[in-house]
């Protein structure tokens, strides 16, 4: 644990993982944190006014439950039927199979691993997702330049996750959970609520600037514009 992380007051309910640099770090997390994250994602999904039902495909690894389980639960609350695939080139066949066989309206989160696998299957990356809402990691965007999908960015920032809303004007960071600041161009996070692990000016390793003020979608979350 670094100096910017310390054991918090909440009892953990499980141990997930977050990325930092090229490495992975275990992340004890409490039930109330998951609930708060769930509420945050619900707020983001509500900006799309999904009223169509259909399926929501979550592409992630089991390690990262603290980031992706709340997305699953928020999608279920929004009336979606959730399908899952592993975030690996190996499981890209499942992504393709789910899109082909089900009425997939939204997908989170598409990575270069997934795109590599889809490309390996001979699929056209600009067509494979149809016109679904697709949250993709920022480094995927050049490969999806001509995609028919409604692309939005998603990114993990240390223990947090940032997601673009329907307006697509930067990665929302949950204002209830995190104080976010850019220090010398690097995004830092400080937790605002009791957690299993507290974060104090935690350097995420991601570079970008922080956009303040009300988003076009009506949310007060600060938004991050990552450097390309």
């Amino acid at each position: 644990m670094t100096a910017s992380m310390r054991t918090g007051s909440n009892e953990d309910c499980g141990v997930g993982t977050f990325r930092i640099g090229d490495g992975l770090q275990f992340l004890p997390i409490s039930q109330v944190e998951l609930e708060r994250h769930h509420n945050f994602v619900s707020r983001i999904l509500s900006t799309f006014h999904f009223r169509t039902g259909g399926h929501f495909l979550v592409v992630s690894l089991y390690d990262f439950f603290s980031q992706f389980m709340p997305i699953e639960r928020a999608a279920m609350d929004a009336g979606f039927i959730v399908c899952n695939a592993d975030d690996s080139s190996f499981d890209a066949g499942r992504v393709e199979s789910i899109i082909r066989r089900f009425d997939v309206k939204a997908i989170a989160a598409v990575s270069n691993n997934c795109l590599d696998g889809l490309q390996g299957l001979g699929l056209n990356l600009n067509q494979v997702f149809g016109d679904a809402v697709v949250w993709a990691y920022p480094d995927c965007f050049p490969r999806l330049a001509d995609s028919q999908a409604q692309l939005r960015k998603i990114a993990t920032l240390g223990p947090a996750i940032g997601m673009e809303c329907a307006a697509g004007q930067g990665l929302h960071i949950d204002h209830f959970e995190w104080e976010v600041e850019s220090i010398n161009g690097e995004i830092h996070l400080t937790s605002k609520m009791p957690r299993a692990i507290d974060f104090i000016q935690f350097a995420t390793g991601k570079r970008g600037r922080v956009e303040e003020g009300i988003c076009t979608c009506g949310n007060v979350d600060k938004r991050i514009l990552l450097d390309s």
């Binding site: 499980g14 141990v15 993982t17």
Partner: protein, 434 residues
């Protein structure tokens, strides 16, 4: 509060007569529901001239209810462009998610579920029996595609999962998690993961793996049968292993501390063991085909589903104190090969390969062009770290297996890495047509 032996003692130790009454009650509730909602069930039952009103008891069900199998479901799926094969009884909002089988042999089979899955239910009973208690950590290695993320589904039991993807690459994370959090249960070990740990130990000979695993009260192994060599290896690492298998895609079946068969939760599924080529029940202890019926799944219940799994089955109470039946897996009916009329299943071959250092990973495929053949054809993976002379290994293995299995053997040797490319990270197809 005094500790208790079982997570749900009221169900796990229910006397058999009460268990049967419970099954009958659940079944009689479910049948009209399924018949009215699941297109495949209605089609099959109408075709057989049977109506739920004709079923007044378990005995009626066993006498009259028609069967379905994977082929029936696939045919309905293809004819009706229905990915759920005519099994689905509900839509959103009760339908919350769709899990999938691994898809080792084709498009993954969808497994639709409500908020809770039946696996959530059985995991808690099994983990408690192994020694997990509220507040304890356990290592939960899983794919996301099977159940989705399920950590919040364990909160009522107070179990704390450490979630890790199933991948040989994650060996170092498993070791770190084990040393940091000292978890009590390891779920789920697979052959490739064990091989990954072995390779890690060869590269790190000073690592005390018994210390790494010293907090575990048990490790669950699944994906395929565990041979004696791997079981011994895990025992040498200090792990008590509990074998786990799918129960016809309804839920799972797992060994208890008695290690005498895998418990089938009979409040979740009705179990029958029938003549693989017919409909008559086989005697207890004899090999038959496992036939399952969902009792509490109101999303996509399977009714009299012939699983293709060959099992021995017993309803005799287990020494662990639970009253639910047990099965002993023998293999898959579709994998069975008759070599000059002698039955050969993957489970017959596995221990002979796992006992040798050159093929200790037990990676192999039976080439099954037809059900009957004169020679057993195998594709076997070898460890490139151990093998230097492939021709010598082929000659030795051919002789070794011919003597052990008493059938003519022909083989193709390939590297383990080549075979692992054929399947998902936790297993490979054991039978191939070519």
């Amino acid at each position: 509060m005094p500790d208790r032996l079982y997570y749900e003692p009221e169900i796990e130790t229910l006397p058999r007569a009460d268990l049967v009454r419970m099954q009958e009650a659940l079944l009689l509730q479910l049948l009209p529901y399924v018949y009215n909602r699941a297109p495949l069930t209605r089609y099959i039952w109408d075709k057989a001239g049977v109506h739920p009103q004709d079923i007044k008891s378990l005995a009626d069900f066993k006498e009259k209810a028609p069967f379905i199998d994977k082929d029936t479901i696939r045919a309905f799926r293809d004819a009706n462009h229905d990915p759920f094969g005519g099994l689905l009884c509900v839509q959103s909002p009760l339908l919350k998610g769709v899990g999938f089988t691994s898809g080792t042999t084709g498009d993954p089979t969808p497994l639709p579920h409500a908020k809770l899955t039946l696996a959530n239910k059985e995991w808690k009973r099994n983990f408690w029996h192994m020694g997990l208690r509220p507040g304890d950590y356990y290592t939960h290695m899983m794919f996301t595609f099977r159940e989705g993320h399920s950590v919040d589904r364990m909160q009522d039991a107070g179990f704390k999962p450490i979630t890790i993807s199933i991948s040989e690459m994650d060996v170092t994370r498993v070791i770190k998690a084990s040393l940091t959090y000292r978890p009590k249960i390891f779920y789920l070990l697979s052959t490739p993961l064990i091989d990954g740990i072995e390779k890690h130990l060869r590269k790190n000979p000073s690592l005390d793996i018994k210390d790494v695993f010293s907090s575990y009260k048990g490790a669950v192994f699944g994906g395929e049968p565990l041979g004696p060599a791997k079981r011994q290896l895990l025992a040498d690492w200090g792990l008590e292993v509990f074998e786990y298998s799918s129960l016809g895609d309804i839920c799972g079946a797992m060994e208890c501390k008695a290690h005498d068969g895998m418990h089938t939760w009979e409040d979740i599924a009705l179990i029958e063991n029938l003549d693989p080529e017919g409909i008559a029940p086989v005697d207890e202890g004899e090999v038959g085909e496992l036939v399952v019926t969902s009792l509490i799944d109101d999303v996509a219940p399977l009714v009299r589903f012939r699983t293709d799994d060959l099992v021995r089955h017993s309803t005799k109470p287990c020494s662990c104190g639970r009253t639910h039946g047990r099965i002993w897996l023998q293999g898959r009916k579709g994998d069975q090969l008759l070599i000059n009329s002698k039955s050969v299943l993957p489970v017959d071959i596995l221990p002979h390969l796992q006992s040798l250092p050159e093929t200790g990973a037990g990676l192999f495929q039976i080439i099954r062009r037809e059900r009957e053949a004169e020679t057993l054809e195998l594709r076997i993976g070898y460890d490139t770290d151990v093998v230097t002379d492939i021709s010598k290994l082929e000659a030795f293995l051919t002789d070794h297996l011919q003597k052990a299995l008493d059938v003519p053997v022909r083989m193709q040797l390939v590297t383990e890495a080549e075979l692992l490319k054929l399947g998902p990270p936790h297993k490979i197809p054991r039978v191939s047509k070519s």
